[in-house]
């Protein structure tokens, strides 16, 4: 909302308040100023001049040499190429060292041998338009009209009234009343403790009866149209509006068109009530019917677009066809034309939700719809209509027919709230007397009587005593409320699950993994990119019904595609070797009647020269160790479609899949445009949490010496080392403290299809020093156990 200071000053005296003070204080009382600017600020050294003489340039067939009186002792000689000058004209003169619109600097100079002391300006060079000064032409010098101050030497901004301050407000959606000059004037008056004067509404009619022209108004959809008021003006005299209307519209960002259109816009800005003017000629049957659109109905709106209407949309119709989309835009014939003679002014109130839905569906938000959407005051329709008529009278824009038609099926009930100053004081933490509270409310046009507050109709946002407390607090001053630290004790802190997350995050970082954060939504095609088979349960995702685009249209059921995007981006940005992790949420659908299951998954990925399946597996093992999860099985997994069938492991614990670790399948890598090997792990974080054992109990340090034996076995190449390890551990018994793999060898010395696997075994008893015999017996058991599967001790 742009506010003209000039317009505001018509109703509140703010002459002693600077622009900055105004912006600061009105912001703190609740109307937020985004910015403010003074019109014409960029113009420098441009004054009014009077053309004294006009001669052809001797060396040019289109230039003129003029002498211009600029209020100084001697006139100036200026060369111009414009063809619309006459001696005696008053024109804007950009003197030597001046600045015109757009920041262009003007200096004196010589044009084809003739000295020129400056430049005569067009409207565009002053930053205004022919809409603002309808008697001016675009392609020529701005000849100042009688509505300008034409004293030579006057600063051009003063001369043409380009001196307003425009303040841009961010009005919150609960305050549609402040989308108007008067609404903001009311806030201004209370903020600065000034008196608010309303515009004078005064006009006389030519008699006759409005119903002689507008025969009937019917509201067929009272749920969508609360009120419809109309008045008729005949013998309309279409012409430009006077300067006071034009300059106020310009400051508020509205282009002046002609007196009738300008009046509708002026009243909309002034009162916040959208107005519409219909040409009565095109209203078939002379009737207005407010109804739902019919199936298959179309309308061509003022912007020359054909629009298909649907039955939930509200239209203003005559007896035959829709003439406007209610509250949004008129139809092509409803506009004001040069030969328009009789018009109907509409001032109506429509249901905000209905207007918003229709505007959205038709894809056209207008100034009017933007206001209706927020819910306007149906009580205000008539005042706005009468204000429009009084402007018609003031501008002599036509003859006003007697009477208005006002259809208001169920007038709004006034909101009444108990006046409880003590409650307000306690709720806010202030001490404002009942009298002071009453004054604030009355200044805001609330009525306070017999312990009740009667809320004015334009304050639809106020319905509870808490709302009253806000009115008191913001004018008392939020800055005057004291500051008090919270009192009383409360136990704060992380819960068990949060502590566990913190622990795992810390471990991941200490392992050299960098945390990433990715979007929760992905493209359904992402499942193809990670080669998930058709029919995989993971393809069943929560689908967003109104996504921004396909790329962000389904909620991920796996975070692998997100991680692959991150790897791909980094790989393609030439980051040579990286390790990433994300503690990601995935969303598993549970049907329409239940929220999806939000599961946490820990995804790890790394790539680069020094990385391998085993560097990543080491990190996964370290994370498990941090979680205190030691009981798990690792087995080859050949069927995970995203992964290399020969280089992937499934880790199971408590009978469930705890993690998958693997090298990404070459097809997946190629889908992501990655030319290097990538290893990834997906850990079921919720399962890890349920298995966690972060309790650490001290184990006494060993008192007795350990014995060590190194054993190497030759076995089939396909025999998993993990299986050998487990068999050794089982056969060697309790005294085996630790088993560590230290070498795997394949080559001619062990023969084809064979490998040698070497372990270092540490034996120790808690309560005694082991004898060689005891250790040898354990080793022997291990050797025998392995012999059973064909793993022979290498001598």
């Amino acid at each position: 909302m742009d506010l003209s200071r000039r317009w505001l000053s018509d109703y509140v005296d703010i002459s002693e308040i600077s622009d900055k003070e105004f912006a600061d204080k009105i912001t703190l009382s609740g109307s937020k100023v985004e910015s403010w600017a003074v019109e014409g600020e960029e113009l420098k050294n441009i004054v009014v001049g009077k053309v004294l003489s006009l001669e052809r340039h001797p060396d040019s067939d289109h230039m003129w040499i003029t002498t211009v009186d600029v209020g100084k002792a001697a006139p100036l000689q200026i060369v111009t190429g414009a063809q619309n000058l006459t001696v005696g004209d008053f024109v804007p003169v950009a003197l030597d060292d001046s600045v015109v619109h757009g920041g262009k600097e003007i200096r004196k100079g010589t044009l084809r041998g003739v000295e020129s002391a400056g430049m005569l300006c067009s409207v565009a060079e002053l930053g205004v338009s022919t809409h603002d000064f309808p008697y001016a032409i675009e392609d020529g010098i701005f000849i100042l009209g009688e509505d300008c101050n034409r004293t030579p030497g006057t600063d051009i901004r003063t001369a043409i009234g380009l001196t307003d301050t425009v303040t841009e407000f961010e009005i919150t959606p609960n305050r549609p009343d402040c989308l108007s000059i008067l609404g903001l004037a009311r806030e201004t008056a209370v903020t600065f403790d000034k008196e608010l004067k309303y515009p004078e509404i005064k006009y006389s009619t030519i008699g006759e009866d409005v119903r002689d022209y507008l025969k009937n108004v019917t509201i067929q959809a009272p749920d969508k149209c609360y009120r419809y008021a109309g008045a008729v003006v005949k013998n309309v005299r279409i012409k430009p509006s006077p300067l006071f209307i034009r300059e106020r519209l310009r400051a508020c960002g509205v282009r002046p068109i002609n007196n009738i259109v300008d009046i509708t816009n002026f009243v909309m800005l002034e009162y916040g009530q959208p107005m519409h003017a219909f040409d009565l000629r095109y209203l078939q049957g002379g009737e207005v019917i407010v109804r739902n659109a019919r199936e298959g109905e179309h309308i061509t709106t003022l912007d020359d677009t054909d629009r298909a209407l649907s039955p939930e949309m509200l239209v203003i119709a005559d007896t035959e066809k829709p003439v406007a989309v209610a509250g949004i835009m008129g139809g092509e014939y409803s506009g004001i034309m040069d030969d328009t003679s009789t018009i109907v002014f509409e001032s109506a109130c429509f249901n905000g939700v209905s207007v918003r839905k229709t505007a959205k569906k038709l894809g056209m938000r207008t100034e009017a719809s933007g206001r209706y959407e927020k819910g306007l005051d149906s009580d205000g329709c008539l005042t706005s209509l009468r204000r429009a008529l009084s402007l018609v009278a003031l501008l002599d824009a036509g003859d006003i027919v007697d009477g208005v038609i006002d259809v208001y099926p169920s007038p709004k009930k006034q909101t009444v709230i108990d006046f409880c100053p003590d409650w307000v004081n306690n709720f806010i933490g202030i001490n404002v007397s009942a009298d002071e509270q009453k004054k604030i409310l009355e200044d805001l046009e609330f009525k306070v009587e017999d312990g009740k507050i009667y809320v004015p109709s334009f304050r639809g946002d106020v319905e509870h005593k808490a709302d009253i407390s806000e009115e008191i607090a913001r004018f008392y001053g939020f800055d005057k409320i004291s500051t008090r630290p919270l009192s009383g004790a409360c136990t704060g802190g992380f819960n068990e699950a949060q502590k566990f997350q913190n622990l795992i995050h810390a471990r991941c970082v200490s392992l050299g993994l960098t945390e990433v954060k990715t979007y929760s939504f992905i493209s359904p095609k992402a499942y193809d990119k990670i080669c998930l088979p058709e029919g995989s349960a993971y393809r069943n995702s929560i689908v967003i019904s109104n996504p921004l685009g396909e790329d962000t249209s389904v909620m991920r059921t796996t975070a692998l595609p997100c991680m692959m995007d991150v790897v791909s981006r980094n790989y393609n940005n030439r980051n040579l070797s990286e390790s990433f992790y994300e503690l990601a949420t995935v969303y598993i659908p549970q049907g329409e009647n239940a929220l999806p299951l939000e599961k946490k998954t820990l995804v790890l990925a790394e790539y680069g020269e020094t990385k391998s399946f085993f560097t990543l597996k080491g990190k996964v093992e370290a994370i498990f160790a941090e979680a205190g999860v030691t009981e798990y099985d690792v087995a080859p997994l050949t069927t995970a479609a995203s992964y290399h069938p020969g280089r992937t492991a499934r880790i199971t614990a408590a009978g469930k899949e705890l993690a998958v670790i693997g090298e990404l399948h070459p097809d997946v890598l190629s889908n992501y445009g990655i030319g290097a090997k990538v290893w990834a792990a997906q850990i079921d974080f919720d399962l890890l949490y349920s298995l966690k054992n972060t309790l650490r109990l001290y184990k006494p340090l060993p008192k007795h010496p350990a014995m060590q034996r190194d054993l190497a076995f030759v076995c089939d190449k396909s025999e998993p080392v993990g299986k050998l390890e487990k068999m050794i551990a089982a056969a060697a018994g309790d005294i085996l403290e630790k088993i560590e793999l230290f070498d795997v060898y394949e080559g001619i010395q062990v023969g084809p299809l064979k490998k040698s696997v070497a372990f270092s075994l540490t034996f120790r008893a808690k309560d005694r020093t082991l004898t060689d015999a005891e250790t040898d017996a354990a080793v022997k058991n291990a050797i025998q156990a392995l012999a059973a599967i064909g793993a022979i001790l290498r001598q």
Binding site: R356, D479, K517
Partner: protein
């Protein structure tokens, strides 16, 4: 014999002084103090002396031996020291060579800022809560006093799954969920992801992070709100930070305000960071609307409360001078590695 001893002492001392390594010193020791050493031999001859001479000479001989022993020990110490010095010198390395690269992991900048905020609130007795990201319309809107038809519900802003299910547009639904399960006094913050259908640009993302805060107790007023959030501002931006409350509108708080902090770059004098205003908006807050307390099962006549919301991306932007929100979700290691 006395002269002989004196000569030996002198010879031994000379030999020690001339020993320039430990081996030479050992040779000198053997020569004079070894079993067959020259001083040892003299001592062995003591028996031949008269009983009168014996104690005198004995004392003298022992003194010589002791002096030589001490001198050898001192020389040995000195030689060892010198030898070590030489060894250390030979071991000199170029300390300006770069250190060996260590595996380097980083928390995401948003998490770093979030942890800072969590830490501040935990210190003030707050608990950390969370709630579902895919949420019911009821919790996201209706219970928060945003009835059907409110502009905030417009599908332009909200991602819907079904008519009743949506991606939460704010962390505020956690207020209701928390009140349903906890009795006052309540002090909680709820950080999390929220979703709005804003196309991606430097200052918008369809997914971003908020921190919701809720305090409910008897006699909570706006003075508590101001006090609590002033503490937050001071902890985040320093002891001299001030806050300014501007009236605003949120459907679920009344009164509502936006809170600005005095610019932490210029201290309020005006600079590009604060667009010359001296103030920077960091959060929205307000007294919990009595209707919202009711929805949470709390009697608004007995209890009152305040709530607030912070944008994590915005905090991180200020903390790290990040000027483009997209960087947070692109996850380029060169970006993440800076924090």
């Amino acid at each position: 014999m006395k002269e002989q001893l004196e000569k030996l002492r002198q010879a031994a001392m000379d030999a020690v002084a001339q020993s320039d390594d430990l081996q030479a010193l050992e040779n000198a020791r053997v020569r004079f103090l070894g079993k067959k050493g020259e001083i040892t031999s003299i001592l062995k001859q003591m028996g031949k002396l008269s009983p009168e001479e014996r104690p005198v000479m004995g004392q003298m001989a022992n003194a010589v031996r002791q002096a030589v022993e001490e001198s050898i020990a001192a020389a040995a110490e000195e030689l060892k020291k010198r030898q070590q010095e030489m060894k250390l010198k030979a071991e000199t390395i170029d300390v300006t060579l770069p250190g060996e690269k260590q595996p380097e992991g980083h928390r995401h900048p948003l998490e770093i800022v979030l942890n800072e905020v969590k830490d501040i609130f935990i210190g003030m007795g707050f608990q950390i809560a969370d709630g579902p990201e895919v949420e019911w319309d009821y919790y996201n809107f209706e219970a928060l006093n945003i009835p059907e038809g409110h502009p905030a519900r417009d599908t332009q802003d909200t991602f819907y799954i079904t008519e009743k299910m949506l991606l939460r547009t704010q962390t505020s639904p956690v207020q209701i969920r928390y009140m349903e399960n906890h009795k006052p006094p309540i002090r909680m913050i709820a950080p999390g992801r929220v979703f709005r259908s804003d196309p991606v640009d430097a200052t918008h993302s369809p997914l971003f992070h908020q921190i919701e805060g809720l305090v409910v107790d008897k006699n909570i007023t706006m003075a508590d709100l101001k006090g609590n959030l002033l503490t937050l501002a001071k902890k985040l931006y320093g002891e001299n930070t001030e806050i300014r409350l501007r009236p605003h509108h949120f459907p679920f708080t009344e009164p509502s305000c936006e809170i600005d902090v005095s610019c932490f770059r210029c201290g309020g004098k005006g600079c590009p960071m604060c667009k010359n205003e001296g103030w920077i908006e960091i959060l929205g807050a307000g007294m919990v609307h009595p209707k919202v307390l009711e929805r949470g099962g709390i009697d608004p006549e007995e209890y009152s409360g305040f709530a607030f919301g912070l944008g994590v991306e915005r905090l991180a932007m200020f903390r790290f001078s990040v000027d483009d929100m997209r960087l947070y979700y692109e996850n380029d290691a060169r970006f993440l590695g800076q924090f």
